[in-house]
């Protein structure tokens, strides 16, 4: 337990810690998906197929093997990035990730952008001018944007901006024609359209993106506001800020240089955690706006009780979150030496 570690040492330890973490995660997923009685095949297709056919399929996919063998095989498959083939529509999980992941990626990145642009400035203002009228308004806004479920905000936005005002499209990723004619390069709609130079298509896609991205972004912005505000408040009460004041540094500089910068360090950590909130929120947002991403795929498989589909996508989501949190931790260790151990 050496206290003073180097950055490289920290990264190595963090990487090493990731292995048991992923292992525990995969075990949890496996156990959760297997506590249900019966095997995935009969849970999904039971009653729809003759028994011989069921047995044949079970044998094909190895569900008649002992549970421990299945567990080892599952882990081995994940290590090789093989997440299986869905039972109901026979797509491989990889192809789902490639084809639908782009939509989710677009939505979450756009939402994160909205959240940062709205959350950070408002949080800083509220933290700087604590217990004044602007602070009260910003706090209430932050609380409301967090308290309002994304699907409710989304529905209201659809009613107002799409139905009543008719400014923006209500749902889907692009107009039917744009979507149908879009070429496939990266499986992400907007870059694909950009590569083709289809500018009206890009405009159409961006218009479709606004409502879902703002809806999801405001949710995360609420978290940012709360966090930044509290951190700025604590930083302004910190000894180093008092010390800076005592040295006669102008208040403006104390606030912007000493307090704000230190207040933003924990925000980086929490941004990593927001990846989970974003993904969860994306499932709801996608459902509200008929957005063809991974979340809506997951729901389809949940409703069809396709265990392989659910298990594969959940495994993938879990891996994404682990990798994102790894990256954020390393970035955080670079900024703040106190994090290393």
């Amino acid at each position: 337990m050496s206290r003073a570690g180097s950055l490289r040492g920290y990264i190595l330890v963090r990487l090493a810690l990731m292995v048991p973490m992923v292992w525990v995660l995969l075990t949890v997923v496996f156990l959760m998906m297997r506590v249900a009685p019966g095997d995935p095949i009969s849970a999904t297709l039971g009653g729809k197929l003759p028994p011989e056919e069921l047995a044949r399929r079970q044998h094909e996919l190895g569900f008649d093997k002992p549970i421990l063998t299945q567990y080892v095989e599952y882990l081995w498959d994940v290590v090789r990035f093989k997440f299986g083939t869905t039972i109901t529509d026979g797509r491989t999980i990889q192809s789902i990730i490639i084809e639908n992941g782009g939509a989710t990626l677009t939505l979450t990145l756009a939402a994160l952008l909205v959240a940062i642009c709205v959350g950070l400035p408002l949080g800083l203002i509220a933290g700087r001018y604590r217990e004044t009228i602007p602070d009260a308004f910003i706090r209430v806004f932050g609380i409301l944007s967090y308290a309002a479920p994304v699907f409710f905000v989304g529905l209201m936005a659809q009613l107002l901006f799409a139905k009543n005002l008719d400014w923006l499209p209500a749902s889907k990723q692009a107009s039917a024609t744009v979507q149908a004619l879009a070429p496939v390069h990266t499986h992400i709609l907007i870059p694909d359209l950009l590569i083709e130079g289809n500018w009206s298509g890009v405009g159409d896609a961006l218009k479709h993106l606004i409502l879902p991205a703002v809806t999801l972004g405001l949710l995360v912005a609420g978290v940012f506001i709360r966090l930044v505000r509290v951190n700025v408040g604590q930083a302004l009460g910190g000894d180093y800020v008092e010390a800076a004041r005592a040295r006669g540094i102008p208040e403006r500089r104390v606030v912007s240089f000493h307090a704000f910068r230190n207040a933003l360090v924990p925000v980086v950590t929490v941004m990593g955690l927001q990846a989970a909130l974003l993904l969860g929120g994306a499932v709801l947002t996608e459902q509200t706006f008929s957005w063809p991403g991974l979340g809506s795929q997951l729901l389809t498989y949940l409703n069809n009780r396709d265990y392989i589909g659910v298990q594969g996508l959940i495994t993938f989501f879990a891996l994404v979150v682990v990798v994102v949190s790894l990256i954020i931790d390393i970035v955080n260790a670079m900024i703040d030496p106190r994090v290393r151990y």
Partner: protein, 342 residues
């Protein structure tokens, strides 16, 4: 409070509520709060009372049952706009929106209380022990909890309720368990983190130096200090639980409409209505969620502001400089005394 102005002959009675008295202690955040803070805390509390009132007296307040689609006069109209018969309109299933919204408060409160209690009873002790004892137990617990925490919380609840639905069935308890799975790691992490930092502090060191056993330290010193953050997390988590429940309902994985009225489910049914420009089926259940969550969040944040010593220190900066005591030690200890004596 009134005693101070009217009854001069009983000074000890005036002194009492400030020092002892459970009620006074519960109410002390309200007295300490000032200005905007006080306003937010009071608004939150008032709204919470409205929410709880609706939940408890739903059968008396709501004009109809949550699953009632007809009365003596016949079947209710479908998707009818708000009118004198149905103040908030009706849904596609002819349910009365007003009634379902009021009944929904009851469902939300039940699930919320169950989920928070379950999560508290599992998360807090685990966090305390793990944080103080350390060693391999701590490592394993952290590993498992971090793994659960790394799951996007909604996905975790989705999977949990999907599987529980397949095995046990639907209902309020099942929804509460699915939500509990999400919040145990949160309590664990927060309690463990504050235990870890408290473990290194001077008063614990002093206790250890005096030969206190780990059990005593956890009970007498750590618990009281760590538990201060729990009411805040508790209220914020309760707010979160309502959102998660609604999210599950919205995805069709929550409580089924025949068992209880649930806001999230109602909003799911409202997606189709929104396309037709029908707003009342979405607006009212949604507003109910927003109000319930906001009120609990206001209470949680208000408590956090008042109970969190790091924030308090800054507010009392001016008097501290005057008294000169803050330069010596942790300022919070001095100011807490000051506030209590005020």
């Amino acid at each position: 409070m009134a005693a101070t102005t009217t009854v001069p002959e009983t000074p000890p009675v005036v002194e009492r509520p400030y020092r002892g008295g459970r009620l006074a202690r519960i109410l002390s955040p309200f007295r300490q709060a000032k200005g905007v803070q006080r306003f937010m805390l009071l608004t939150g509390t008032a709204l919470s009372f409205v929410f709880v009132f609706c939940a408890i007296f739903a059968p008396l307040i709501a004009p109809f049952e949550f699953d009632q689609y007809q009365d003596a006069a016949g079947r209710f109209p479908q998707q009818a706009a708000p009118s004198s018969a149905h103040h908030w309109g009706t849904t596609v299933n002819s349910f009365d929106v007003l009634s379902r919204t009021i009944w929904g408060a009851r469902t939300a409160l039940e699930v919320m209380i169950l989920a928070v209690i379950f999560a508290l009873f599992i998360g807090v002790p685990l966090g305390l022990i793990s944080g103080y004892v350390g060693g391999w137990l701590d490592r394993i617990l952290v590993l498992v909890m971090d793994a659960l925490f790394a799951f996007p919380y909604l996905l975790l609840a989705i999977v949990a309720s999907f599987l529980l639905k397949e095995t046990i069935g639907n209902g309020i308890i099942v929804a509460a368990i699915a939500i509990t799975v999400v919040y145990v790691p949160q309590y664990f992490r927060v309690v463990r983190a504050s235990t870890l930092s408290a473990r290194e502090s001077t008063y614990i060191e002093a206790a250890r130096a005096m030969g206190a056993k780990p059990r005593t330290i956890i009970h007498k010193y750590l618990f009281a200090n760590v538990v201060q953050s729990v009411p805040v997390i508790g209220t914020l988590n309760a707010a979160d639980a309502i959102l998660t429940l609604a999210g599950l309902g919205f995805l069709g994985l929550g409580i089924q409409p025949t068992e209880a009225a649930e806001w999230g489910y109602d909003l799911q049914r409202a997606i189709a209505d929104a396309g037709a420009g029908i707003w009342w089926t979405a607006l009212y259940p949604g507003l109910a969620i927003v109000l319930a969550v906001t009120s609990l969040t206001l209470v949680g944040e208000g408590l956090n502001d008042i109970l969190n010593p790091t924030l308090r220190r800054r507010r009392n900066r001016a008097p501290d400089i005057m008294s000169g005591s803050s330069a010596v030690g942790p300022a919070s200890a001095g100011t807490v005394e000051e506030d209590a004596g005020e």
